[in-house]
């Protein structure tokens, strides 16, 4: 991919990722957040986070299965950081509008409200990933450690989905769609890994055979 194509695509990703925020701000300014403005902001930022997390999680399996799309990896960090950005807005909504930055209420909520516990866990899984997203951090940590640390995104996604379910009234199934998507993206990983292992084995066998036939001559 040429540098200019990359710049154009990155710009488009920035626009796509900031569009929801622009919509939210516009809706707030024009008094169009509906009946429950606080609830609307909380839901909107939460859903944006989960969707961006799902898109981020989709990149690795896609590029492994379709080598032609390997260049997608160049967008993974950006998407992940935007997921973190919306998660931060979501957290700030809770801090500012639900508990009014009151540490006592906050502590009680985190300890007692299991959906908040799960949400906080998800956020604190994402935080180190955002902090170590720079090239410098990858170099400092070393590729292996960095990869190991970044498997926390799986925990974050699971906690995020659980958080969504736990703040629903029992019996309401709205989070089902995102649960299926995130579940599929997590379950497809071992499958992709085993396909790749088999491919690698096949390649190795062919290579061995080829070298044997060469030496036999």
């Amino acid at each position: 991919m040429s540098r200019s194509t990359l710049i154009v695509l990155k710009t488009l990703v920035w626009i796509a990722c900031l569009a929801p925020l622009c919509w939210l701000v516009w809706a707030a300014v024009t008094n169009n957040l509906g009946a429950d403005q606080t609830g609307a902001i909380a839901f909107f930022t939460g859903r944006a986070t989960l969707r961006l997390l799902a898109i981020t999680l989709a990149i690795s399996p896609i590029r492994r299965l379709i080598p032609r799309l390997a260049w997608l990896i160049r967008f993974r960090r950006l998407l992940g950081l935007f997921a973190f950005f919306y998660a931060t807005l979501h957290l700030l909504t809770w801090l500012g509008l639900y508990v009014s930055f009151d540490p006592v209420t906050m502590a009680a909520d985190i300890a007692k409200r299991r959906y908040i516990t799960a949400g906080m866990a998800a956020y604190f899984c994402l935080l180190p990933l955002a902090l170590t997203s720079t090239a410098w951090a990858i170099r400092k940590l070393g590729g292996k450690n960095w990869s190991r640390l970044h498997t926390l995104i799986y925990v974050a996604a699971i906690c995020g989905v659980v958080h969504y379910w736990w703040q629903m009234k029992p019996g309401v199934l709205t989070p089902l769609a995102i649960t299926v998507v995130v579940g599929a993206l997590l379950l497809v990983r071992p499958v992709v890994a085993s396909i790749q292992r088999r491919k690698a084995q096949a390649t190795a066998t062919t290579a061995r055979r080829a070298s044997r036939s060469v030496s036999a001559q």
């Binding site: 707030a28 024009t30 008094n31 169009n32 957040l33 509906g34 009946a35 429950d36 403005q37 606080t38 609830g39 902001i41 509008l97 639900y98 009014s100 209420t105 009680a108 909520d109 007692k112 409200r113 299991r114 959906y115 736990w166 703040q167 629903m168 009234k169 029992p170 019996g171 309401v172 199934l173 709205t174 089902l176």
Partner: protein, 328 residues
């Protein structure tokens, strides 16, 4: 209960309609803002998107009402638009806007309410007779949902106790159960994103049902209930979480034992039979200490929740000696 003498001016003209006009003016202003913005962008469709046209009041039935000493004062009414477009009526979809879209299918005429169980004789009331049974009162009540949001709604109706007296319940009747309308052909959304056993069932202890605050409700803002708000007749129990106020009632059953109630069946550990608004008893998943007033801007929405939703003076005595942590 005192009904008071008929006023010279219907109270709907004094309070709710005034508020409603103020609300209309606000809408006009907002429409103006939206239109200006849309004109700037040269997009007419955007204007409609920002401020969608609403057909409220087009064919609403005006109700003849009288004022009530039991009305709640000192609260700013929630706009009609939000009371009618932000509904939990899961038979018509779990989305808050779904009932306004889907409840049109509800056949509100002819409509009867069947009374049976521990009564002298089973009865059937026609909705049009119920409307004439007692003078219809304007009663503003706070409405507190278990989801920690609240509204202030100018209901129209009379005390349920007036209706119960007509039913001649036997001394063995200790509870009243209310059953909501249900028909899979009408309530097509009742299994979409939701798993509940229908029909919707609610109940009250006899003294709660007889408390003058408990309202047999036929309207809001001086007009017949829109379908999405539980037309043509519903219960309103202002000191309990909203789900206790069953909508679109087709049967009233007097029973000896505590009846099954939908949300109690759904999650017994979280939603109790009593379900009194209580900031000191949390329900999973939400804290009940605060609530978000619907219709206010997000930066001034959150307020403290009051014990019994602010109706402690009228209702607390019914629960004296009861451990409200145990009987939540």
């Amino acid at each position: 209960m005192l009904i008071g003498k008929p006023p010279d001016v219907p109270s709907s003209e004094i309070t709710s309609q005034d508020d409603y006009n103020r609300y209309l003016n606000r809408r006009k202003f907002l429409k103006g803002v939206a239109a200006a913005g849309a004109a700037g962008l040269g997009a007419n469709r955007l204007g409609r998107l920002i401020s969608p046209p609403t057909a409220v009041h087009a064919d609403a039935t005006k109700l003849q009402t009288v004022p009530s000493p039991l009305t709640t004062t000192g609260e700013q009414l929630t706009p009609y638009e939000y009371i009618t477009h932000y509904n939990n009526f899961y038979e018509f979809g779990v989305d808050k806007g779904a009932p306004a879209k889907n409840a049109g299918l509800l056949p509100t005429r002819p409509w009867t309410v069947k009374v049976d169980g521990k009564v002298a004789k089973p009865l059937t009331f026609d909705i049009d007779d119920l409307l004439k049974l007692r003078p219809l009162e304007d009663r503003v009540y706070r409405h507190r949902c278990v989801e920690a949001w609240s509204m202030v709604i100018p209901w129209v109706g009379y005390s349920l106790s007036e209706f119960i007296k007509q039913c001649n319940p036997l001394p063995s009747a200790k509870y009243v159960q209310f059953l909501s309308y249900f028909n899979w052909k009408v309530d097509k959304w009742a299994s979409e994103d939701i798993s509940i056993v229908w029909p919707y069932s609610e109940g009250l202890r006899m003294d709660e049902a007889m408390n003058p605050l408990t309202l047999l409700t036929f309207g809001l803002y001086g007009e017949a209930l829109p379908n999405q708000d539980g037309a043509p007749v519903r219960i309103v129990v202002p000191w309990k979480y909203g789900y206790k106020s069953a909508k679109s009632i087709v049967a009233v059953r007097f029973v000896e034992k505590q009846p099954n109630t939908t949300w109690n069946d759904q999650a017994p550990g979280e939603y109790g039979f009593y379900s009194n608004v209580n900031p000191n008893v949390d329900t999973v998943p939400w804290s009940q200490k605060t609530e978000r007033r619907i219709g206010l801007p997000f930066y001034e929405q959150t307020r403290t929740t009051l014990m019994f939703n602010g109706y402690a003076d009228q209702v607390a005595s019914m629960y004296s000696g009861m451990d409200l942590r145990k009987y939540y």
